[in-house]
């Protein structure tokens, strides 16, 4: 039997992988993918919490599941804008590597 704990562990692992990806990887497209991973880790916990939290009528708490739809929509918008900026950057600099974009410094 899979418990709530198992879902949370998977979600936590996904979140950490995503965070590590954002911090460590140098390619902007991979960074964007890692960000998506983090958002989806949160989605997974939300759905798991919702499924395991049954109210008096025997139904799951649907608030969280509705929230997940919002997150998916917003994430799509975010990626759309993000990729547009990336394309513009690639046109200007011919690179998607974060090491090459460091003209602003202290």
């Amino acid at each position: 039997m899979i418990t709530l704990g198992d879902y949370l562990i998977v979600s936590g692992v996904l979140f950490s992988i995503g965070f590590a990806g954002v911090m460590l990887r140098r390619n902007l497209i991979i960074i964007l993918m890692s960000l998506e991973l983090m958002l989806n880790a949160a989605n997974l916990s939300l759905v798991a919490f919702s499924r395991f939290r049954v109210d008096s009528t025997g139904l799951p708490n649907y608030n969280a599941q509705v929230f997940v739809f919002f997150i998916i929509t917003v994430a799509a918008a975010e990626v759309a804008v993000g990729l547009a900026i990336l394309v513009a950057l690639f046109r200007a600099r011919q690179t998607t590597d974060v090491k090459d974009i460091s003209s602003l410094k202290f």
């Binding site: 949370l8 979600s11 979140f15 995503g18 965070f19 954002v22 902007l28 960074i31 964007l32 960000l35 983090m38 958002l39 880790a41 949160a42 989605n43 916990s45 939300l46 919490f49 919702s50 939290r53 708490n61 608030n63 969280a64 509705v66 929230f67 919002f70 997150i71 917003v74 918008a77 975010e78 804008v81 993000g82 900026i85 990336l86 513009a88 950057l89 200007a92 600099r93 974060v98 974009i101 460091s102 003209s103 602003l104 202290f106």
Partner: protein, 474 residues
Amino acid sequence: MITAPELEITVLVLGMVILMVEAFATNIDKRVLAFAAITGLAIVLLATFFVTPGASPSPTTGFWSFYTADRLSIFFKQFALVTTIFVLIMMTDYAPVVRSSFPGSTSQAGLGEFFALPIFTCVGLMYLVSAIDFVFIFVSLELVTISFYVLVSFTRRNPITLEAGIKYLVLSALSTAFLVYGIAWIFGVTGQTNLQRITEVLANPGTDRGAALLGMVFILVALGFKIAAVPFQIWVPDVYQGAPTPVTAYLSVGSKAAGFVVLLRVLQPFLALPQMQRLIVLIALLTLIYGNLAALPQANLKRLLAYSSIAHAGYLLIGVACFDGRAVSFYLAAYLLMTLLSFAVLIIVAQQTGEQISDFDGLAKRSPFLAFAMLIGMVSLAGVPFTAGFLGKFFIFYAALKQHQIALVVVGVITVGCGFYYYLKVVRAMYWQSTAKIDKIPVTGLSRLAISALIIATIWLGIFPQPVLDALQR
């Protein structure tokens, strides 16, 4: 009678109409759109004064379970509208720079969207300050953030701007992920997304507070990005420097104010947990010290204002740590005036010379009006009496002394001393230094009007704080 939700709908429709006109009417001077937007927002701003504030009629179900129209929210709706109006005025001044970054295409390319996007940001801010449910907070925060992504990287032929855009995008999205994950944990513990019900559940001793605290820490990280608190401030200097200047002004005022309102609202359920206060005190101390020390050696005025924005986040966090919502709100109102004033002058001067502090040399000779405006802005940011900035600091220190937060007070006073140094550096450039350039700097009528209004408001609020305090009375 006007009700609060109608305000946002009106602004939203205004934004849509302007976008449509922009798309289909190709032959007009696009600055007309900006003036139309300013007029529309001004009308909505007037309308806000006829809205009767009041708590939600039914705070647990339906529409009013995620939307409130209390005094705080009405005040910050006005705040958002005022900010947007001034930013649009600055944008009309900045239009030549935007045009020059779209070489080859028509002379009007890109301007329409540049004027339309802030309206959507404004809607986001207005919804955000009314949000009392995590789902609604998230959605409106993202409306603000995504329109900022576009605005920050708007002059996309400029590689610096694009770099700022990428940095803002990645770090903002990261903070969003933290926010969502934090909300998930709080939902997991309480089974609720409505802030009031979360408060009720957390007051129940059977609740697992540790997990809720974990969720709250994640949310704090996310909001720390929005309000530019140390150690989540790394994006601020780069993005502020790289973004188009009106957008920087908008970011530093609108985005920060929204972050603080949300912070005040989501901290409400967690007041019972003592760890929370200690954590915020720590963040406030770090932010104060870092922001002020890092601002000392800056030579670029935009970057200086970025660090000063971090420093002011520190003062605001003192207010948050003492849970004094009114002091924070008043400080934000003062911050709005003085920051917009400084940016308004910066935009005009930067087009003539540049953004470095040394580009302000001898400004007092070239344009006494602009120099005086900048003087008032800087003096208010530093916290000299008879300006709004001083009363803001006064209320913050009052709250801190009342709570016996000695560490915060001591560090606060020392950093105020640092502040005097780096703000007066600008004054020094304007008045002491001489310059070879002697040509006058032209100021358009609308900008002159806006800057005068900001000067008067900064001084007025520094002498008569009571109207604003009344507007914040719960």
